[in-house]
Symmetry: C2
Subunit: 192 residues, 2 copies
């Protein structure tokens, strides 16, 4: 299982945003939607053994977490708008504990701390520019990568994550968008 | 210079499509828009030394070609919808020879054959599942990659391309979406 946790620092936590304004009014939700695309889509196939957890921290709050499970997903298309509609559907559910919104998509009010605490057996990887090169690193088959949207992790988020002693890895000499990072990670692990 | 030619076999050649329907009515233009994103965007930066050439072959015809030049681009945002609007603007220009539509975006009625003929000095690479692994291949700094949308190159397109004796390279053991291919290519070349 490859799992990707992506923090959306400004991403909408209510379903009142417009699908025409995913980059603006929805708080850069467009980035998270492209992360979903990169995590699941292969040419003419969907990756089943992948999970994506989006932690949405934008207004109006409180935090909402959307979890997508590759083995159960249906109705997922590669484009931003239709995926945005699925996330908006999920946000319509006003629930604290995790509930299913559509096949393979679950919503809750779990915090980043909750999400980390609930991971169970998995290797944890923090993708960061000053890490070890992923190409020379051992990576478990059961691995969880932590990424951020257009902003870095806050000092609080980072210190929380570091308590779990993640492996710190980098993907190359340049800093990439989160969705591009997911594509590069997949390619590296597909080769092993 | 890294250049990416992407063939959109069904992609709209007129500006009458809706930005709400980029994956449907615009003939999978969403794929080409994500290719633009992958080609140009870095975290908080734009790649200047990149060019993208989209060859649009869908209805109503005839062919339209849109060329994006990294060193001149402005007003480019990462999301599909706003990039779709730029391409739609370009398609509003009814021109045979190449004309600028917005900064860094040019439109013409060049065919794939025209595009190949006009490349000048560049190494040509055909990304294909049965090629040599890119990680062990020499690749020039001045290189042009040819990709296709959700469909393979037609036999005619492939035989045209092969006349130019491209290097045939693969990116791994699995077949990826065109935009993911561009991300993987960039990462590999960024490392050299």
């Amino acid at each position: 299982m490859r799992r990707f946790i992506v923090i959306g620092h400004k991403a909408a936590t209510a379903a009142d945003f417009k699908l025409d304004d995913l980059a603006g009014g929805a708080g850069r939700l467009d980035i998270l939607l492209r992360c979903i695309n990169s995590a699941f889509f292969l040419s003419h196939d969907l990756r089943k053994d992948v999970e994506v957890i989006l932690v949405l921290l934008g207004p109006p709050g409180p935090v909402r977490t959307v979890r997508l499970v590759g083995s159960e997903l249906r109705y997922l298309n590669p484009d931003e708008r239709s995926t945005g509609a699925l996330i908006r559907n999920a946000l319509m559910k006003d629930t604290r504990s995790e509930e299913r919104s559509t096949p393979g998509i679950y919503v809750s009010s779990r915090t980043f701390q909750d999400v980390l605490g609930l991971l169970g057996e998995t290797e944890l990887v923090y993708l960061k520019e000053d890490g070890e090169d992923i190409r020379s690193a051992e990576v478990s088959d059961n691995v969880t990568f932590v990424l951020s949207d257009h902003m870095d992790l806050t000092p609080d988020e980072e210190s929380l994550l570091l308590q779990y002693r993640p492996k710190v890895l980098k993907l190359g000499p340049i800093s990439y968008h989160a969705d591009h990072c997911i594509t590069i990670v997949h390619n590296e692990l597909d080769r092993r």
